[in-house]
């Protein structure tokens, strides 16, 4: 309880400090370069100076935090990737050479590509289908809320939920995991799903798809509603079937949104960590890059060189999407 009070106290203190900073610097700026009650030329000159300085005063705390927590670490990680485990000795490319010779790393790259192929595609697909279907029924909003709900659940919580679904009891005893119970009811033999190499990756992916479909659905549902009615009416008049309208009229009009959803989930997939850590911790050939990176960060007292070089690989995979995002954002601003 005491620490919660401490937290609230710090929070109030932090907010007050921020407010004090903004009020204080603004007041100071107006005192040093007053524009009221001055002669015309002096006033306009002061006004110009304050207008040049003020944006930077407004942005300073945010830029400072961004620089320390995101920009500096990017460069530092790249530097560390070329250094040894303690970050002291320059070692050239040897971390990367080690990496590509390491079986666990190659396994992770392979698994990550599997995740990249499957999760964004299926999440977007289910999201689109559910968005289109729920728009037509009266209880669509309730259905949407329920499917959207896993978004709020932490990856670890979701891992527990699904671990319970996948739970395995030896053959003959009663299954308490619903998946094995269904398999047994249909006459199959129960399986320890998490320990079947290759396929266990897909059982892990199901968790992320379960979480992310709601996100895709919300965005795509809004996009579908934004389609001009006339295009659909025209198609109906021309005698197009429901399927044709959906795939030939509606989907092409929301390609842009589909791409945004797809890339957003792709970024998330590249960073997937909690699910694998909680479910298998990379055992049974389910290792992924983010978990491997975390592993090396602390393994044997921490190998910062190898950890950083794996982080750099994740970063390199993200860069194309980053560039695409920046170009889209810039284009939008020019419009």
């Amino acid at each position: 309880m005491q620490q919660l009070l401490f937290a609230i106290f710090t929070m109030v203190g932090g907010v007050l400090a921020c407010a004090a900073y903004f009020f204080g610097t603004n007041w100071l700026l107006d005192r040093i370069f007053p524009s009221k009650g001055m002669s015309g030329a002096q006033a306009s000159q002061n006004l110009r100076i304050t207008n040049a300085i003020r944006p930077w005063l407004f942005m300073a705390p945010a830029l400072f935090a961004l620089a320390i927590y995101l920009i500096y670490p990017v460069f530092e990680s790249v530097r560390l990737a070329f250094h040894d485990r303690s970050g002291q000795q320059f070692v050239g490319f040897s971390n990367f050479i080690w990496m590509f010779g390491d079986g666990e790393f190659r396994q992770s790259i392979f698994n990550n590509f599997l995740w990249l192929l499957v999760v964004p595609a299926l999440s977007t697909f289910f999201g689109l289908i559910i968005a289109a279907l729920t728009d037509r029924i009266w209880w669509g909003n309730i259905a949407k809320t329920l499917i959207f709900m896993p978004m709020a659940i932490s990856f670890v919580g979701a891992a527990v939920i699904w671990k319970f679904v996948y739970d395995y009891r030896s053959e003959g005893s009663e299954q308490i995991g619903i998946l094995n119970a269904i398999v047994v009811a249909m006459g199959g033999t129960p399986e320890a799903w998490m320990t079947i190499p290759f396929w266990n990756n897909f059982f892990l992916m199901v968790i992320l798809i379960w979480i992310q479909t709601g996100f895709a659905m919300v965005i795509l549902s809004a996009a579908l509603r934004g389609i001009p009615e006339e295009t659909i009416e025209a198609a109906v008049i021309d005698g197009a079937s429901g399927m044709q309208i959906f795939f030939k009229i509606m989907v092409p009009q929301i390609w842009g949104t589909i791409a945004v959803v797809w890339t957003t989930i792709t970024i998330l997939v590249l960073k997937v960590f909690d699910i694998v850590l909680a479910m298998t911790n990379g055992q049974w050939q389910t290792q992924v890059l983010a978990n491997l990176m975390f592993d090396w960060m602390f393994r044997g007292g921490g190998d910062f060189g190898r950890g950083a070089s794996i982080a750099v690989v994740i970063m390199i995979l993200v860069v194309p999407i980053m560039i695409w995002n920046i170009r889209n954002a810039t284009k939008e601003m020019e419009r």
Binding site: A7, M11, A65, M149, S154, F164, G242, N325
Partner: protein
């Protein structure tokens, strides 16, 4: 859409949506139901059978021979295995290998002329022609059909014994300041990027958009080193709440600035111009006009940031200690998965406590969450 709503296929739509909804909610429902079940029932039967009577193989012990009474020249020990529950005994036995050798109500010869009878209501009687010796009671194995039982015992246990209670406080300690502190910082920055012309603005916006997708993994090692360095320099621990609050603020800022800038840039220009004509400075305009108008965007961001900090595992694992007063809920849950992997009554109750706060936030503030998502902005775990 208009045409197909009347088509006979509409019931197929209803059916498939129902199926999808079931698929999406059943796992969570299973967790919730299981966490409320009696732990012995939970261990032997699926949660979908929670409402039906379950058959369990149980072990009990009769009262010790010291409790025997003499009756009509015979020595009798009696009692009840079920202690007043509403279960029903169907069979019993006295050897571990044959736990259901005798039907309830029949008498079993357990040696030395002693007869054991267990009735369906759980009452038992051992009748012996001679005085019984020893201090330990006879072990009795029995099969009982137990009616469904729901209880809050699992929650009581995890909140006290499993440390979930203190972790709950820790998670709140992490999440609340991490959510509130960045708001003002981000709002000022967003206003400058949206409405104050200065050279280099477009580049800064591009940088923020780029930072949105920088993987957290890039920041971990350098910041860990930085924190260790700062901690060693000032002689303070490297893993503190202050450290994680600042880290969450740094990681949340790109999304905050981007969301708020988009929202503010969409506000009508006339408001600001008329205020400026009246002699208001940028500072006044921001504090008195823009900030109140931006409430929906601020709410969206706060919800994102709260969900993200509450649900976060990675940042807490790196920047916060693992002591009882620092381990957050997600971290505790991962530990429990390792140490109590088979105890589903612990895991389900703990997991539900972990997800209940985000679910409440989600259901009560869904409107703002959706609006935030729709302003084209997402960070994700």
């Amino acid at each position: 859409m208009i045409a197909s709503a009347r088509s006979p296929l509409i019931f197929v739509v209803h059916l498939s949506v129902l199926l999808l909804v079931a698929l999406w909610t059943l796992p969570t429902a299973g967790l919730l139901i299981s966490s409320l079940r009696d732990k012995d029932q939970l261990a032997v039967s699926g949660w979908w059978t929670a409402l039906s009577t379950s058959s369990q193989n149980l072990t009990g012990r009769a009262a010790s021979p010291e409790a025997q009474v003499e009756k009509d020249g015979k020595f009798v020990i009696s009692g009840n295995l079920l202690e007043g529950g509403d279960a029903k005994v169907s069979a019993f036995g006295f050897r571990p290998m044959q736990p259901a050798a005798f039907e309830a109500g029949t008498a079993a010869d357990i040696g030395d002329g002693q007869m054991l009878t267990v009735n369906a209501d759980g009452s038992y009687e051992i009748v012996s022609p001679t005085k019984m010796e020893g201090t330990r009671g006879q072990r009795i194995f029995y099969t009982a059909s137990v009616p469904p039982r729901f209880t809050l015992d699992n929650y009581r246990e995890v909140l006290s014994a499993a440390g979930i209670g203190s972790s709950f406080i820790n998670s709140l300690t992490v999440a609340i300041p991490s959510t509130i502190i960045p708001i003002l910082v981000a709002a000022f920055c967003a206003y400058a990027l949206a409405w104050m012309p200065f050279p280099g603005r477009a580049i800064l916006i591009a940088v923020v958009v780029g930072l949105l997708v920088v993987p957290l993994q890039m920041s971990l090692i350098p910041l860990l080193r930085l924190y260790n360095g700062v901690g060693a320099f000032f002689g303070v621990p490297a893993k503190t709440y202050v450290g994680i609050w600042l880290a969450h603020m740094g990681f949340g800022l790109p999304l905050a600035v981007y969301l708020l800038r988009n929202y503010m840039a969409g506000l009508p220009r006339e408001i600001m111009e008329s205020a400026r004509v009246d002699g208001a400075s940028d500072f006044d305009i921001f504090v008195k006009i823009i900030l109140p108008l931006s409430f929906p965007a601020l709410a969206s961001f706060s919800i994102f940031q709260f969900l993200w900090t509450w649900n976060d595992l990675l940042v807490a694992m790196v920047f916060l200690g693992t002591g009882n007063d620092e381990l957050v809920l997600t971290g505790r849950l991962v530990n429990l998965l390792g140490s109590r992997g088979g105890n589903w009554e612990i895991l389900t109750a703990s997991a539900f406590i972990t997800i209940i706060v985000p679910l409440i936030v989600f259901f009560s503030l869904q409107r703002y969450l959706v609006r935030g998502l729709l302003s084209g902005s997402v960070k994700g775990g």
